[in-house]
Amino acid sequence: MSSVAVFSKASPFDALQRWLPKLVLAPSMFIVLVGFYGYILWTFVLSFTNSTFLPTYKFVGLAQYARLFDNDRWWVASKNLAVFGGMFIGISMVVGVLLAVFLDQRIRREGFIRTIYLYPMALSMIVTGTAWKWLLNPGMGLDKLLRDWGWEGFRLDWLIDPDRVVYCLVIAAVWQASGFIMAMFLAGLRGVDQSIIRAAQIDGASMPKIYWKVVLPSLRPVFFSAVMILAHIAIKSFDLVAAMTAGGPGYSSDLPAMFMYSFTFSRGQMGMGSASAILMLGAILAILVPYLYSELRAKRND
């Protein structure tokens, strides 16, 4: 008798306990399904319509994509992304790895130096852009500073040069993100088995050679994660352009994220803006899928 009483008393509690985890997760599940995937699908649908200032659901097939590919500004933005992304990733990696390796040599005041290298990462890209816009100001910024310091023929007017303005974005972005790459690699280096280095030293290998041939190759996963993150930052870069150049002069420093914003929200080209957003998603997937695939395969092989 008593056991039945206990059972019936425990039962609703147990049932609730069984459902609680699902109940707790339910709102997030809803958010993910609707706010992530539902909205992507919605944007996808919009990219096949002739929506301008307001969404309309009149389907025009691939017309918006065709218009996009006919649009010179889109090509400038895409080409800029390739240049900006390539240089930003390449330089940040070289600087980050170099600083990490140097910092790993039992450096005095390492903590302090690390803090300095990484602080730009705490700043908004808008703050970074504002600062670098001033530093690169033709006539008043570094341009003048280096002339004042005696380098008479020095000219730095990239910010108003349509062919070179992208390099300004690269400089600011590298300044902001290279410390982060340093931190990632330093963490990786700290995990490297010191006995491997000792063994190579006993074999008579020089330190640069040990790092190049033994230590850095063992950090392959860190290398891939770092490139992945930098590529992701590059594709999403919007605030830096907005603050530094607003896409100018003309649209010579446009990036896809900036293009999407101005066509969707300022020029009332919702359909084409959506098409450009979908292509950005495609770019992210193009780097994400191979990355995840290799990660999963590596895990299975462990």
Partner: protein, 281 residues
């Protein structure tokens, strides 16, 4: 004195390494130093000197003018950031707890779907999100921005907690369940007290992300509800009137100070968040 034996000899290559590291320190510091110097100069000083020249007269007029302009937006940013950080961290903790200790059929799939949110280019959700905010009557409000930041912050906050909790031994929770402790009791009594480091990481990550956000701010707010980043951008990129670089730089410093302060005080957790967000489990 024994430590001397362990110290590497001061060779030429070590001098070179130190030289590179110290030059790099200066390069990283230059923009901050220039911002500070410029913000305390008078406009005449800016015109006659150069980036690194010391102000002939140190004046706070740039800061006073900047603060008068961005004050309201600065508080907007707090009004957006504080609730968004707290809510998204709370939900992230509960999600992480379920996804690591109360798994059910489909929960792993959900985690996979959620993870993609860490990489989602927000351009693909901006339009539908703005339609939704409009329908909810939250367009151009700070509440709307809180909402958006909570939704699109969930991927990272859940990831942080889930990866942290996965390393806690199952036995602990199993024993508590045998003793009759329920879902929330276990969370409050056992899990939460050992979560301090990851809570710090998550709070700091979210604070930095949301305070520094520009995209959501510029799309989902207007006029009086704009966050500081949008206000700073408007101030710096207005083409009307004489450019006051001291005001621009002071405003940029004001926009950057809260996150810089967090970084200086709790840098350890900031770095951990960056690498935890980077190295996905």
């Amino acid at each position: 004195m024994t430590s001397l034996a362990n110290k590497p000899a001061l060779s030429l290559s070590r001098v070179a390494i130190y030289a590179v590291l110290i030059v790099a320190v200066f390069i990283y510091l230059v923009p901050l130093v220039v911002m500070l110097l410029t913000s305390f100069k008078s406009p005449e000083d800016i015109g006659s000197g150069n980036l690194l020249s010391w102000p002939t007269e140190v004046t706070a007029i740039g800061w006073i003018k900047a603060w008068a302009t961005v004050k309201g937006y600065f508080w907007n940013s707090f009004l957006i950031t504080v609730p968004a950080v707290l809510i998204s961290t709370t939900i992230g903790a509960l999600n992480g707890y379920v996804l690591s200790m109360w798994r059910f059929r489909g929960s792993q799939l959900f985690f996979g779907l959620l993870l993609f949110g860490c990489f989602l280019p927000f351009q693909t959700v901006l339009l539908p999100a703005s339609f939704t905010l409009g329908k909810m009557g939250l367009a151009s409000t700070t509440t709307g921005l809180v909402f958006v930041h909570v939704v699109y912050g969930l991927a990272f906050t859940t990831l942080f907690f889930r990866n942290y909790y996965v390393s806690i031994p199952d036995a602990l929770v199993k024993a508590a369940r045998l003793d009759g402790a329920g879902f929330f009791t276990i969370f409050r009594r056992i899990i939460l007290p050992m979560s301090t480091p990851i809570i710090m990481v998550c709070l700091i990550w979210q604070f930095t992300q949301i305070w520094n956000d520009f995209l959501f701010g510029v799309v989902f707010s207007s006029g009086d509800s704009q966050p500081i980043t949008v206000a700073l951008n408007n101030l710096v990129n207005t083409s009307t009137g004489v450019k006051e670089y001291n005001v621009d730089m002071a405003a940029a410093m004001i926009a950057g100070l809260p996150t810089l302060l967090v970084y200086v005080v709790a840098g350890k957790y900031f770095v951990r968040g960056l690498t935890a967000g980077a190295v996905k489990g």
